[in-house]
Amino acid sequence: MDPISKFMVDHKIPIGAWGKAFFGFLTDNFDTVFRAFSNGLNFLLDGLVDILLLVPPVLLALVIAAIAWLLQRSRPLAIGVFLGLIFIINQNLWKQTVQTLVLVVAAAAMAMAIGVPLGIWAAHKPKVYRIMLPVLDLMQTLPTFVYLIPVLTLFGLGNAPGLIVTIIFVIPTAVRLTHLGVVSVPKSIVEAGEAFGATKSQLLWKVELPSALPTIMAGLTQSIMLSLSMVVFAALIGAGGLGTEINRALGSRRIDLGLEAGLAIVVLAIVLDRMTRIAVGGKK
């Protein structure tokens, strides 16, 4: 090794050690808080899964198809949704699919609940967005495995850490698309609102949000898709569902099992995507 490189390596900045110390500090001092939170969340998610599993699978598939019809008013879509779900039941992956579904819907809902207000804030305050931007980039590009580790140490194994990892991964999309939607509200209609005496909150609710709605809904669809793609990784830290099956298939080189679970995820993705596209193509 040349002397310059050697010098630099010898004086390595201990980023890893700092990170470890930080998370060590968190676990040492707030372990009970994190664990209690994790347990509560696990209880909620598992409870929801259990309730859904009490319903006969075919009946639940019918209910989901009915929801699809309510959202889209499209008969072919409702039939497609129902057939897709029947396929999953047929593959004997219903339980795992329900677990995944609960995780995905919860993660997407939470990500929207946090991301939309942040996106609106960022759209109104360009300075805030400038600060937010690198954080969002970090959240999206830091390899998923890297933040699985601290989440695992803080929250332990189970659905709760899986949910948290997924939310972290998905929030940036919700923020970005909300920001985009609000920023691109035509100036002329914002001015029309102002000229007729809108308060700040009237402007938000009656002008900005309705105008940004298609983009925000695109953000919801994206959030759901990203959550689904995260499910496989979340299984590594104990989140149940189809991801677990895929990981098991990978570990034991079971092509058949991998194919089945993989297809089930694809079907779920298509079903959720088509169901949530509604608001975009709807009222203009």
Partner: protein, 393 residues
């Protein structure tokens, strides 16, 4: 006459260095100099203008002349850097520049409504929901809102379209929705920012006519921004011409056409047809300037072809054309008259120059006499007066 909006020495600067820019304005710097030195954009400088209640005051200029900037100061869509914008608010006047947010909102909801060039309609709302926007924001209860919206839609002939979405309508209809939305708030002051510029010429003319009709009935105070002089001359009771952020000339339409203040205004009016603006009053020679003969006879023209005998009350006692007695006929009936040599037409001061010229044509270039409301002789128009007005010499 009551003042509805009063601009007093309004300076508007866009940018961070307000104090520096204002100092440069005081030193008489141009927009380009200010931009170079401070990086700020001069919106308008030293603008003073009084708009009376019930009149249509048109702000004219090329794009970038500051006309929209000044207009948008009235409801503070543009923030004024220095000066006052006094707006009539019931019995008192409010300075929009310094008033608090609550007052400003009330003004925007109740006193000052606006119509935009790009319509500014909300595409996800139906026509009636768009028209009701101002009322909704002001918290008017739904039942009353519906009623007022319905009334406005009838006024602009869009009641059939109330359930349609704004984007399903043509441009002209969309701007009628914009008008109805502004009228619905019943605000006495209306700001119109190039409302018809985005429309094709035929629709534009039609909407101008409709606006004038509505105005005759509603008697709003309208500040209207336009870059089209024909439009300004047609609808404006006063015209203000702006250049580079400064007001160049303010006056009645015929003042602008007959007495342009500088070359900029002269260029502006170069292509205007004077016939559409000028009236008999603008071109006549006053009776005191006419050549007087004996026994109360007055020569109407320089060629001495036609003369009137005026009695002590200013009324006409006799008329002669080419030495023979002549009849005098109103210009208003010019279309129905046969071409007789012994006719002399008369007009009112408000008669258009076009009608006067037609009358001259019919009477083989006889001068046209002008009478006031009490039938008193006030002056005459000879062929040379017409030519010099049309040619602007």
């Amino acid at each position: 006459m009551t003042v509805a909006v009063d601009f007093r020495n309004v300076d508007i600067v866009f940018g961070a260095d307000q104090a520096g820019s204002l100092a440069m304005i005081d030193a008489g710097a141009t927009r380009a100099e200010i931009l170079e030195k401070t990086g700020n954009v001069l919106g308008c400088a030293g603008a003073s203008l009084t708009v009376n209640e019930g009149e249509i005051s048109v702000l004219m200029g090329l794009s970038g002349s500051g006309k929209s900037t000044l207009l948008r100061a009235v409801n503070r869509l543009n923030v004024v850097s220095r000066g006052q914008v006094l707006v009539k608010d019931g019995d008192k006047t409010v300075d929009v520049v310094t008033c608090d947010e609550v007052t400003l909102r009330r003004l925007r909801q109740k006193q000052v409504a606006m119509v935009f060039q790009q319509f500014g309609l909300l595409p996800w709302r139906t026509v009636e929901e768009n028209v009701g926007l101002g009322l909704e924001l002001a918290g008017v209860p739904e039942a009353e809102r519906k009623e007022r919206v319905k009334k406005q839609l009838e006024l602009v002939h869009l009641d059939q379209w109330s359930k349609k979405y704004a984007h399903e309508l043509s441009g002209g209809m969309q701007q009628r929705v914009g008008l109805a939305r502004a009228f619905a708030t019943e605000a006495p002051i209306l700001l119109m920012d190039e409302p018809f510029s985005a429309l094709d010429p035929l629709i534009r003319t039609k909407l101008q006519d409709e606006l004038l009709q509505l105005q005759a009935e509603l008697k709003k105070t309208i500040i209207f921004v336009s870059h089209d002089l024909e439009e300004a001359l047609k609808i404006g009771s006063h015209i203000t011409i702006m250049e580079g952020g400064r007001i160049v000339q303010t006056g009645a339409p015929e003042d602008i056409v007959l007495r342009p203040a500088n070359d900029y205004v002269r260029d502006f009016i170069a292509n205007v047809n004077p016939l559409s603006v000028l009236t008999a009053w603008n071109v006549m020679r006053d009776r005191r300037d006419l050549e007087h003969g004996d026994n109360g006879w007055v020569w109407l023209d320089r060629r001495k072809t036609t003369r009137f005998k005026i009695d002590d009350h200013g009324l006409v006692a006799a008329a002669e054309r080419d030495g023979k007695p002549a009849v005098w006929v109103s210009c208003a009936d010019v279309e129905g008259q046969s071409e007789e040599a012994a006719q002399v037409f008369w007009a009112n001061p408000g008669t258009s120059l076009k009608t006067v010229m037609l009358a001259m044509h019919r009477s083989q270039t006889a001068p046209v006499a002008l009478f006031d409301d009490q039938s008193r002789f006030v002056g005459a128009i000879g062929i040379r007066d017409v030519l010099s007005a049309v040619l602007r010499r």
